[in-house]
Every structure is written in C-alpha cells, then in structure tokens.
Symmetry: C2
Subunit: 491 residues, 2 copies
Amino acid sequence: MKIVRDMGKAAALKPLREVERWDDSADVVVVGLGAAGCCAAIEAAEAGADVLALERMSGGGGTSALSTGQLYIGGGTPIQKACGFEDSPEEMFKYLMATCGPGEDEAKIRMYCDHSVGHFHWLVEHGVPFKESYYGDGSYTPTDDCLSFSGSEQSWPYREIAVPAPRGHTVQQDGIEAGAQLMRSLVAAVGRTSTRVWEDSLVQTLVADADGRIVGCAVRRDGGEQLVEARRGVVLCAGGFINNRDMVHHYAPELARCRYRAASDGDDGRGIRMGMGAGGAAKRMETGCIVLPYTVPKSLMNGIMVDRRGMRFINEDLYQTTVGEAALLHQGGHVFLICDNECFARPFAPAEVAAVEETIADLEKALDMPEGVLQSTVEVYNRHAERGEDPIFHKGRQYLQPLVSPPFAAIDYRVENSLYTVFTMGGLHTLPTAQVVNADGDVISGLYAAGRTTSGLAAQGYSSGLSLADATFFGRMAGRHATGRAVPPDR
Amino acid sequence: MKIVRDMGKAAALKPLREVERWDDSADVVVVGLGAAGCCAAIEAAEAGADVLALERMSGGGGTSALSTGQLYIGGGTPIQKACGFEDSPEEMFKYLMATCGPGEDEAKIRMYCDHSVGHFHWLVEHGVPFKESYYGDGSYTPTDDCLSFSGSEQSWPYREIAVPAPRGHTVQQDGIEAGAQLMRSLVAAVGRTSTRVWEDSLVQTLVADADGRIVGCAVRRDGGEQLVEARRGVVLCAGGFINNRDMVHHYAPELARCRYRAASDGDDGRGIRMGMGAGGAAKRMETGCIVLPYTVPKSLMNGIMVDRRGMRFINEDLYQTTVGEAALLHQGGHVFLICDNECFARPFAPAEVAAVEETIADLEKALDMPEGVLQSTVEVYNRHAERGEDPIFHKGRQYLQPLVSPPFAAIDYRVENSLYTVFTMGGLHTLPTAQVVNADGDVISGLYAAGRTTSGLAAQGYSSGLSLADATFFGRMAGRHATGRAVPPDR
C-alpha cells in the first residue's frame, strides 16, 4: 500500500553525508517558477544573492499562468482610489478574519493587510500591468479591466462586519486568462535579475545535514542527478496536490468528486511531500477552493439554491466558492438552482437543465424530491421576497424577486453533472516569514515555502485572488528572509 | 509565533550521533500505556521480546480508562451468537465502508473485519471480561451488560447497505465507566508479561540514526534525561491532541467550540508531533468524534432536530456522533430539538429547554427564527409522519409521530449551551501493520503507532467503540510486526 504510485518519491531526505560533492551551488534555491517562485527569486536576487530557480516544465508559469490573473489586494490601492472606492488595511483585515476563520492565520492576514498597498506598487514596479478601471463583480474580468468585487464583501454577514470594497485586481489582459500575462511579466522580471533558471529540472528530494538543516536538493536533469547546494535556503514553490489522486484520497477525499481541477500537471504535491519529509507540519490539508460557477449572468442569483430535498441551504449571493464549499461539503454535492421564467438564463459556465415544469409541485416531483418540501420552500421564500426581505439567509435585496412566473426550471448543479472546479488549499505550515515550521511550531532551518505548497491566508472562506496574493507576497517574504532583508518590508 | 507553548517540544529529532551512550535498552519501546500501548506491549513480550513501556502518568490507563469501555467488534462473536444476532465479516465491512467514507482506510477496515472475532477471543484470553448479554441501543451500557447497537446500523441508509447487527461490546462493569475495567484488565495482563514499565516517564523526542531510522528515544525521568535504545522499534501510543489548544487551532479549528473534551491530560499531541518530526505523515487531522448526547431517553428521537432557521437537517435516529458532526460542522453548532408534549422528556445528558410555547408559531418566534420556516417544517413533517413516512430524511418508523400535542418545547443544543463532547480522530498515517509512513507512503523504519495517535478505522462517520477497537487491534499489530510475528495474525 503506497500513497504515491506514479508521482515519484519526494519525502525521504537525502543525508548530507551521502553527498560526495555538489554539482552546483547557490545562495538561494527556488523550487518551481510559478508566481511564488518568481517573486522569491526576484527579491533574493535583488538582495545580491546568487539565485538558482529550478522548474520541472520547459518554462516558468505553473498553475498561476492558467489562472484568471486576479490578485486580492486592498487597503487603499491607487486603483481603488482612482475608481472611487475607500478601503483601509483595517477593513480588509476585518473582512479576511471573518471569512477565513475559524483557524485563520491571523499573523499572515495582519501582515498582508498592512503591506498590501506596498505589494501592489512592487508588482507594478516589476512590470505587472493593471488598468485603472473598475469592472464590477466577479472572480475574473472578461475584459482588460482591473478592479472587481471578488469575494463575499457585499453579502451578509460580511457587509455588516467590514465596509465592502472591491479588492480583486486583475492583471491587464483581454479575456479571462490574465494569469498568462501575470506570469509573462514575472518571468520577464526574473530574467532582468541575475537569477539562473534551470528548466526541465525536477527536484527529487531535499538534502539535510546531520542536524536536520536543509542545505540543498537533488535534481533530475538531462537524464542524471545533480546535487545542488543551497547556502542560505531552499524555497518550495511547487504548487498544491490536487493532481495527486492518492494524496487527495488521504488528505482531502471530498475534493476528489469535483470534475475540473484548476491546476497544472505539476500540482502533484511534491513540494508538500518534501517539506513533510523534512519534518515540516502540513496543515488544513482537507481544505480546497471549490468553485460552483453559477453566478454569471447575475440574474441567476434571483433563483434559489436548494438541496436534494428541496430546502434552501445558503445565501445565493455569497461568493461562488463559499456556495461551492457548502454544496459539496455540507450537501453532498447534490444541489439545484431553482428559477422561474423571469430570472432564468443560460448559465455562462456549462450546466444542464435538470427539469422544467409548469408548477413547483411538478418540478418537485420531476426532481425526485419528497412531496411538499420544495413547495413550502418556495412559498415561504416568496412570501418574504414580496416584502423585499430574506430573513432566512439574508440574500441582498437586489436579488429578491418572488419566483412566480411559470415555467420553473431546475439547473443541475449536482457534482457529477456540473463543473465544480477545485484546487487544494492545505499545505506546509509557514510563518509570515515563509519559514516552514515543524509540529511544535519551530523553524526548520534552511527551508521556506510559499503559494499553494503552503496553507496560506485562507484555508476556507476563499475570495478570488487570495492564492495569487499568497504566492506573490509570501514568495517575496521567503526571498527577503533568506537573504537577510526586513520582513515585513519597510513600506 | 509558536504552535506549542506549554505543551513541551517533541518534534525535533535527536540525532544518534549526540547519544554518547544509552541509559537503557529494549527490543521494543512502547510510548504510552493506554489500551493501544498495553496491547502492543503484550504482543511483543509474548513474542519473547524485551519490552519497555513508558508512561507519563503514575499509572497506566490513559484516555481509554476514562471511556465507556465499549469496543466495536463483530463478524459473529460468541456474544453476538449467544444473543441471537447474525453477523459476518462481510456485513461488518459493508457497514464500515459506508459509514467511514470517503477517504476510508479500506486496508485497515478489511483486516479488522476479517480478524474481529479472533480479536475478541484474544481480549478474553487476556482477562477482559464480557457478559453474555444484550443491552439494546446505545454508545454505553449503564448496566454490566455487553452487546448494543453502537452506531447507525439500524438507520437509513445503512440498514439498506448492510444487515444490521449490534457490534458494541462493552466490558463487564456496573455503570457507564467500563473503560476503567478494561484498563485494569489490560494493565494486569501487561503485568503478567516480562514487560518493564516506567511510570512518571515522559518521552520527549525520538532518536534517529543518520538514515532517519528511529532507534530510540529521550525520556524525562526522575528529573533527568534518560536515553533509551529501541532495537526493534518505538511504538507511539500517546493518544490524540484535543488538549493541545494550538494544535486544535491549526489542524481542527471547528472542534475547539465543543465544551467537553473526552480525553486525559496526556492528549496533547506529543505522539503525533514526534511522528511528524520523524517525517511521518499526519492525515485527516481535521476530523473528530463529535458527540451530541441527545438520544437518551429514546422518546426524544420522536422530536425533530432543526437548524437556527427552523429547518431539519438530518435523520434524527442516526448515531449521535453523526448528528453531532452535522450539527457542529454543517450547521455552525446552532441547533434545537423540537418536541411536543407527547415525546418530550428530560434528557439524560444535561441540556436546557430554550423555549416552551403553546403553538409552533410562537415557538418559532421565541427562538428568533424567520417567520414561517419552522411552521412549514413541522407541517410537512407531520403530514408525512401521519402516514408513518419520512421521505425527507428517512427516520425509522418507530420514531415517527406527528408533533401535535401542545405545549411544544425546543431543547437547546447550541454548542455554547450544550455538552458537545469531542476527541480528535486525525493522526499519523499508518499501514495495517501499524508502521508509520511518510508522505510518499513509504515506511519510516523503526516507527510504529496505534490508537488515537493515528488516523484509524474511521476518520468520520464514527460508531461507538471504534477507537478502542483501533487501539487494541492495531496496538497488537504493532507489537507483532516489531517482533517479526505474522500480521494479520493467523486466526
């Protein structure tokens, strides 16, 4: 019985005494050249360090390059200001503490909120383009616009906890794949430093000295093994583990049901496994970002999301990952969006209509729901919606319209039939300095990690853009700390 | 920022080269003398090994001694047969695979079901007393009786998946604390072997050789440090981590809300932290056994469990841990049991009545529920219950009576006001041989673990008795494997 069959071994450390000589050597070795790895390399190289970045693919980018290119940044950025939105580190902090809890990493959230504006400037200085424009709501922008509400800021209860502000900053790029532009910019920025990049180079395991300090790694390259010394640290930026079926079974089995994995092939958990093998603690390994893409067009939010029995279970205007988490983890992935003829529209993301009927009673029957449940759900919902109220789940007034115009449709958001999209959120436990800690909370000397190789700002309660925020900001902190620069940065 | 402040360090390995000489030496070193540790010691000693058992308290017992002394055993035990119940390893397997999934550990479940009857005989041979009698349903027996339905075997959907059989085997002892008798018996059985027991001896960390093999441990004893060699293996049987507040925050934050922790002080996660420090993988760390003790007297199951809004969310005749999981993890720990005058009774476990009203409408108001929800919940429930049906959640027919006799009461099962009881279920990833594996699934040489230091038969979907089953059976397997005996045992 093995966890990992085809994914290669990574956890067993190579003892330093088995290293006869190093094939190469650098101050800082960065494992993986996605968003986290690029930012780590840039900061370390700008500190004057000799940096070697190792990328298993034939070019940098990683999963970040496949993303929508949205970063969660706030606290009063120039773009927020230019578009007329007030924000402060404190409101951002209140929002994240409320959505990311319980088990939230307060120290990381605090540091990131306090330095988010500075981080925006750093990205711009390093060539990441943002347009000074506001798009609206959404986890991506189909245009080249920048700012959007990318979480549940405007939804109950968060709108009462923190002043809502749009914090999704999408990199300027036509279409929804701005992640490619982000990575073109960051890889180019790495290229402007002295960083040496080895492509097609798969890190196989870490090398530890007799005290457990990480001093290098073994790399498969050109068909052979190269041993690389890391004088000041190894930074693991190797992504998550959603593409490692065995790891998902052992750590996050519910996530296996999602049909679409938002990840590159490299997300096989190697970085996490290497860190665990070095005694690093992996935490919140069960958590994932679970997207249920039902919110475009927005008129669909006038419908009601119901479980297999016909009961509502959530406020439909919460961010789609929050609804996705509830649908998959609490409702067994067996949910429908009920619409009347007024609010129905073809969903932007592929989805089928499970049934269309002239009455709610017939719809209930067509969906195999127990008699009377959906009928009373709709009846009670409508009664309140007529008064512009939703005392049950507090959906925003703009989405409250009684469902009274036949025919009535059920859009099929059962996990088997729909496009639940997922990536893992659990990973190595790191300090805000990006240092990996063991199960006592003590630093593992010479070892850093950032991005989805770690448990980051959010373990649950995701808002779009938090992963790229994690990757870019804490990747930077790794590069800074490993080279003796201030963490957090001076503003 | 440290995970563990007052709980002592355990994760950092001591390198063998720092050991100048061993203070003592044994073939097998057992860490912790609860149920798992006793069984490991007995099996190893009976194989002729020199066994040293290290217990931090002044006597063996651990959390097992505080338990209800119920073991989940089946497949056709002499007591099942004597009491007229048919069972087979296959039916037991089907039940556990259905309740423990997803992420179930099929290899462990398979081996345990196949060897459960043999395990029963082993316990009896080692002096654990069981009375040949059937008690009924329940997670404990207040009498000295043995057999009971201790899970959800009779509830939908499990009754349709596997032929129900009672598998809770409670050790013979008047009162509900039969765990003390279990541990008196097992500690006495250890005493009949050559096992050496050191009490008041806290294992502080593991000793590893240069290849990462575990070869001993450091022990705090008599005010000093003793270094103990383990020639064939160290077996970690040191309990779970519910009494380590920082670990709970990092790994299982939802569990922190439960008021009562079913655990001895020793459940501070030391064993898990030691294993993680050695590169062992910890898995399903988020999971816990969450008991919501609302099922005694059973007439209460005629009531309906509703969430903060007044909606039902579960089949009320499922085992109370399944209901507890759903209440805490899916409903935010904000639930009420709604009874009419007919089914109301004072709950056996302490619980307050949140409100009593003459009508459901008034009860709804008194509980601050949105207008109309509880009313339609009860109305739809009653309509079906009148026909002896529950198409919504499939509660057993014997608990279906319309709630029509005023006054109506809500028993307060909000987590802040009620006695949610919890212990952790996550821990080291072990093979059925009790060998600890790393994140690749490869064995860490010289390291074993059993009981709540591991992720065992069940990570979720708990049935009462599974933890003592885990502890005793896989503790045995550790002792056997470390001494070269067959695993699984010949029947």
